[in-house]
């Protein structure tokens, strides 16, 4: 059996929030138990509203922050057990990240060449000319030209900058690339360009992507598997085909119905969710989705549901488990 390149088990991240002087600090549970496997060459898309913990997950995977609890192993090495600095450095090379805002992710005082070479300076023992060679190779791989080497970030457009950021992420030859909304700050035409570049690079270098997005039409284009999150918890995890054709969780259904589409099916029902996402400091008891769910009953209010396989999807929902929905769907 092939080993997953990223293996996350019940990852949690809590932030202490000070509520005032001398008052006990409260816990903000940004991430409350996420598990998944990711294999080489595959793309896992993580979707959800703002504040659902997508970016926190990205930061944990990129080792910018450490998980509060849970296990995360990358290429067979358990991160939570690694204390050795040199080993963690080796692991860092395997996971790299591309950020959302191409205007904030490049240091405005450094030339493109310096930005691309920095990871090499820190993580490899290459000399200056070898580094330059590698940076130039990487630039041509993402469609930048040699003369861009001496330029500064402010001389580039958003799409070009994002390609520079991708080149920086790939220069250490990582196995996993965490893409934190890499195209949401770009124009639609540039989005297509960057997404296609990402797909091409994935095939060429057999990269594993964790693709974080709130744009389902982009996810439909790039993902193999989709993980839907709500308030720091996964609610549905399935392959792209299953998720888009037959969403199980009420939240996923609402999310999908909110995607703007060219109106081909005229009678497409728009499921409107009531209210706001609750605060992660004080989440509702039971299923966290219950205040906004039209199917919520007593069980939903008291006991949190667990992820179970249901119609080829792993879903955490009481209504599905108790066959209150789903069957009704079959009847339609």
């Amino acid at each position: 059996m092939i080993q997953p390149i990223v293996k996350a088990r019940d990852l949690q991240k809590h932030y202490p929030v000070k509520s005032g002087f001398l008052k006990p600090s409260q816990n903000l549970r940004a991430l409350a138990g996420v598990s998944f496997d990711l294999y080489a060459g595959q793309t896992l898309a993580v979707v959800g509203e703002s504040g659902c913990g997508k970016s926190t997950l990205a930061r944990l995977l990129a080792m910018i922050e450490e998980p509060t609890s849970g296990r995360l192993s990358i290429d067979g090495v358990d991160l939570t057990e690694v204390n050795n600095k040199s080993l963690s450095k080796g692991l860092r090379q395997k996971v790299q990240m591309v950020f959302q805002d191409p205007f904030g992710s490049l240091n405005p005082r450094h030339k493109i060449g310096d930005i691309l070479q920095e990871p090499l300076v820190i993580n490899t023992g290459l000399n200056a000319s070898e580094r330059r060679q590698k940076a130039l190779e990487m630039m041509s791989l993402v469609g930048l030209r040699e003369e861009h080497f001496q330029r500064y970030p402010h001389m580039f457009s958003g799409g070009q900058r994002q390609r520079i950021a991708i080149a920086r992420a790939l220069i250490l030859k990582p196995k996993v690339v965490v893409l934190d909304e890499p195209v949401s700050a770009l124009d639609v035409s540039i989005q297509a360009q960057v997404i296609n570049l990402l797909i091409e690079l994935q095939q060429e270098l057999s990269l594993a992507y964790v693709f974080i997005s709130h744009d389902l039409s982009v996810v439909r284009h790039i993902a193999d598997e989709v993980l839907v999150m709500y308030l720091g918890r996964p609610v549905e995890h399935s392959s792209k085909e299953v998720l888009f054709s037959n969403p199980q969780h009420p939240y996923t259904q609402a999310l999908l119905s909110a995607t703007p589409q060219v109106a081909t099916q005229r009678d497409r029902q728009r499921i409107k969710l009531k209210g706001e996402m609750p605060s992660p400091i004080d989440p509702p008891s039971g299923c966290v989705f219950n205040p906004r769910c039209q199917y919520a009953n007593q069980d939903c209010l008291t006991t949190p549901p667990v992820m179970e396989l249901y119609n080829e999807s792993r879903v955490a929902c009481w209504a599905l488990k108790q066959r209150r929905i789903g069957d009704e769907k079959l009847a339609n």
């Binding site: 910018i64 790299q96 904030g104 992710s105 469609g143 296609n196």
Partner: protein
Amino acid sequence: MIVANKKKIHQMSDNLSESEFVQGRSLWADARRRFMGNKAATVSLYILVLIVLFSFIGPWFAVWTNEEIDWGAMGSAATQGMPSFATGHFFGTDDLGRDIYSRVIQGTQISLMIGVIGAAIAVVVGTLYGSISGYVGGRTDQIMMRIVDILMAIPFMFVLILMLVVFGRSIGMLFVGIGLLSWLDMSRIVRGQTLSLKNKEFIEAAQATGVSDFKIITRHIVPNLLGVVAVYATLLVPGMILAESFISFLGLGVQEPNTSWGALISEGAGTIRYDTEWQLLFPLAFFVVSLFCFYFIGDGLRDALDPKDR
């Protein structure tokens, strides 16, 4: 979605970038161009350079050194010590018959030195302290900033005067006193800037690459702070000069035979009713013009380095 293959991407990038080779222009080069476009600032810079040059080249033209006493003018400065080329006293003499021209040169050197060294201490200590405090954050930040608050709450002039009285009046003591207190504001400003930079994605990108914290501060945070620091430092120089002049005016600062603008102005102001206004006017002119220049340059720098994100 458009399916573009690699070739197309290459073509696209070729079309996007101009065909001829363009040398990258850094933000600093941009700022220099904007600064040079500012007339007041550029003129001030030239005047200031002239004043500095004067303080080094001036002695070559002096007829009298700053320690020689013109016995003919001593005691009758109002009639014998007027500014004149004939006697060699270009700016006149003081009541003791000393040449004001040479004294102003000496005062310019000392005043500028105090201003620049005081600002330099503020830049080095304040930038390091502020960026470390801001970047590390949490409890360290709290403790470091409360120390600054406490030091700021102590009246600066009072401490300085006390130090000069207790430890004796010397230029060295003046430097220590000004240096000890000048970095406080700077560290606060730098900390604030660091806090806003710290969450920028390029810092996170550096962390994800494995750059050490110290390297992040020196390579990524400090270069992006320098604009603000440069502006504040140029505005700090005249502040230092003013503080020193005030202390010297009180008679506690620079001691004879050394002198500074403040000390000269103090002397000149003391004798103004004996019709020896040149004793006040020459040092005062240098003082005022230099301060104006520093403020105009600071203003020009602020416009040029306007920290807008580009």
